[in-house]
């Protein structure tokens, strides 16, 4: 029972830096004084972005995964960190989104030098760094128990962000979020216990070699994926998401919607394509896709019915997450030699990336609009265009990606999913993708329509928004649009390190 050994690669120590750097920032905030939280975060954020880019460059140059074996102890006893093409892509995405959120949050979470320190800025910056550490661990971890700890870290950082302003509804939303997340993690842990009992290792590469297609493995993977579904807010386990993401401050909502819900999905991808004995269960794949379809249709309609801008965006998050789950039957039915060379898989991953950029931009834009107008009722958004035109433009550009209109990352992603669905004769999935696009167009245009209307007579601007904040939001939306110019084919980069796992 000796799974293949990992060999540490040259730049492997950078992976540790990527995880430890945010933790150092957190500790520095406590050690150097809470007043300096923001300044410390502004040192750590670009530093982390550089580390993520360096790892990405390393992976691109060598064309192989970057690996680090902690303490030189080989799995199954030790723990390995490994960055393949997919995890590096998500790490860079995380760093970019967090840096942008950091810039926009400057207005809402600063501590002026002449005032006493407030709690919410300190908590915000500390938790953002905690989230980052957890996300990087999720993307790099190669051990199922290690991933469990990372998921818990993520939950504990995300839940307080939801109730940062301490209003009663947000406390309730946070509690509900926490309870859903806890059910999810216990189910995940139970699956991990079963897998350990059956194979004696929780290392991903080891499990990949050992996994048999038997009842224990299926039950274990089923439990883990069900638990992760609750954390990733797949219909019908999405009930916690809209109040939690809508109640959080806009900067926090952006991180929660863009990144936090993607981490459990990433682990589902790992379990499904890296651990589960192939060929995977076709019925389970179909079921995930059906739940995805239900998410898309049900939550798009719910988004259309919301009176509040942030609730609408939160429901749209659940709908867009549904698209991710369409990739399982599509990748299985494709005749590509490996899943990650199939159009469906690539479309799903591209949807993940483009949604992260578009949704972060949309939530931040909604936050700026609400700050300028003093409310976020969709009915009374008229005049927004005259006060915060750049934010409204960013909202519209991000909306392109959600609708799947060209040119945008969402367009390419949905086109790839649609192509895969028609190629593999999954007509229901194709129909759902098209319906989802139409519904998304309806809810985005409903907002734009109001925002571009002439202001009413008693219109008053509550606050002026500095230009750099609006430009940052626009920058994120433009990133989501630029993704639309990638070639319509599976990318070699995403497959790096996935062929012939160690």
């Amino acid at each position: 029972m000796t799974p293949a050994a990992y060999t540490a690669t040259e730049g492997g120590a950078l992976l540790v830096v990527a995880i430890v750097l945010p933790v150092i920032g957190m500790l520095a905030i406590f050690a150097l004084g809470l007043r300096r939280a923001e300044r410390i975060a502004y040192l750590v954020l670009p530093g982390g972005l550089l580390v993520a880019l360096a790892i990405a460059a390393d992976v691109a140059r060598s064309g192989a995964a970057v690996t680090y074996v902690l303490g030189g102890w080989q799995p199954p006893l030790g723990i390995a960190l490994r960055a393949d093409g997919l995890s590096v892509t998500l790490m860079v995405l995380t760093a970019v989104v967090l840096c942008a959120v950091g810039l926009v949050a400057r207005g809402s979470f600063s501590t002026p030098t002449d005032k006493a320190e407030a709690r919410s800025p300190m908590v915000f910056w500390t938790l953002i760094l905690g989230l980052w550490c957890a996300l990087n661990t999720v993307f790099l971890g190669q051990d199922l128990f290690n991933l469990f700890v990372a998921l818990e870290l993520l939950t504990f950082s995300a839940v307080p962000l939801v109730c940062l302003d301490g209003r009663r509804e947000t406390l309730q939303a946070a509690l509900r979020y926490l309870l859903f997340a806890l059910i999810g993690s216990v189910l995940y842990l139970m699956g991990a216990a079963l897998l350990y009992g059956a194979y004696g290792t929780l290392d991903l590469a080891g499990l990949r070699l050992l996994a048999r297609n038997d009842l224990a493995t299926s039950v274990a993977l089923g439990l883990m994926i069900a638990g992760l579904m609750a954390k990733a807010a797949l219909f019908p386990l999405h009930l916690w998401l809209p109040p939690a993401h809508a109640g959080a401050p806009a900067a926090a909502s952006a991180v929660l919607s863009a990144l936090v819900v993607k981490a459990p999905f990433f682990i589902i991808l790992r379990l499904w394509f890296d651990v589960a004995p192939q060929p995977a269960n076709a019925m389970a794949a179909q079921m995930l896709a059906w739940l995805g379809i239900a998410s898309i249709l049900f939550c798009s309609v719910m988004a259309l019915r919301q009176a509040r801008l942030k609730l609408m965006i939160a429901y749209s998050t659940v709908a867009q997450l549904g698209y991710l789950f369409l990739m399982f039957p599509l990748a299985m039915a494709s005749d590509a030699p490996t899943a990650w060379e199939s159009v469906g898989w690539t479309g799903g991953v591209l949807q993940l990336v483009s949604h992260a950029l578009a949704k972060a931009s949309m939530f931040l834009a909604a936050g700026l609009i609400a700050e300028a107008l003093g409310h976020d009722r969709i009915e009374n958004l008229d005049g927004a265009m005259s006060v915060v035109p750049i934010s409204v433009a960013a909202f519209g550009l991000a909306g392109l990606s959600l609708m799947g209109l060209p040119p945008s990352g969402g367009f390419v992603a949905k086109l790839m999913l649609l192509t895969a669905a028609t190629e593999t004769a999954n007509w229901w999935i194709a129909a759902a993708i098209l319906m989802g696009g139409i519904l998304a167009a309806s809810y985005v245009f409903r907002v734009l329509n109001r925002a571009m209307a002439a202001p009413s007579s008693n219109f008053a601007c509550k606050a002026s928004i500095p230009l750099y904040r609006e430009l940052t939001v626009l920058g994120l939306a433009i990133c989501a649009v630029v993704l639309g110019f990638v070639p319509l084919q599976p990318f070699a980069f995403l497959g790096i390190g996935r062929v012939g796992l160690p």
Partner: protein, 111 residues
Amino acid sequence: MISSTALYGLCAAGLVAIGLYGLVLHPTPLRKVIAFNLLGSGTFIFFGVAARRGAAAGLLADPVPQAMVITGIVVAFAATAVAVALLLRLAESGGSTLDPGAPDPQDDRPS
């Protein structure tokens, strides 16, 4: 004669069943938190069973799952602390702590 491993396994299954029932069906948050702890305990006993079976190397008892259980207990403790802290804040803010569903649509303060 039932083996001790099987007995522990059944115990774990029973705890998980009670915990899941409480977590999903009880309306009061405090009971949900307690149910989560039961559910967690059941899961930890599962790890104990895995350790007893010594799946890794045919040892008398495998130490790795025990290390995992310790980590798991710490995580569950932290989760309970966060949940109770949230509950306390909720109780301080007045009114019932029951989960009422979606936030109040009448409230139009920016969030």
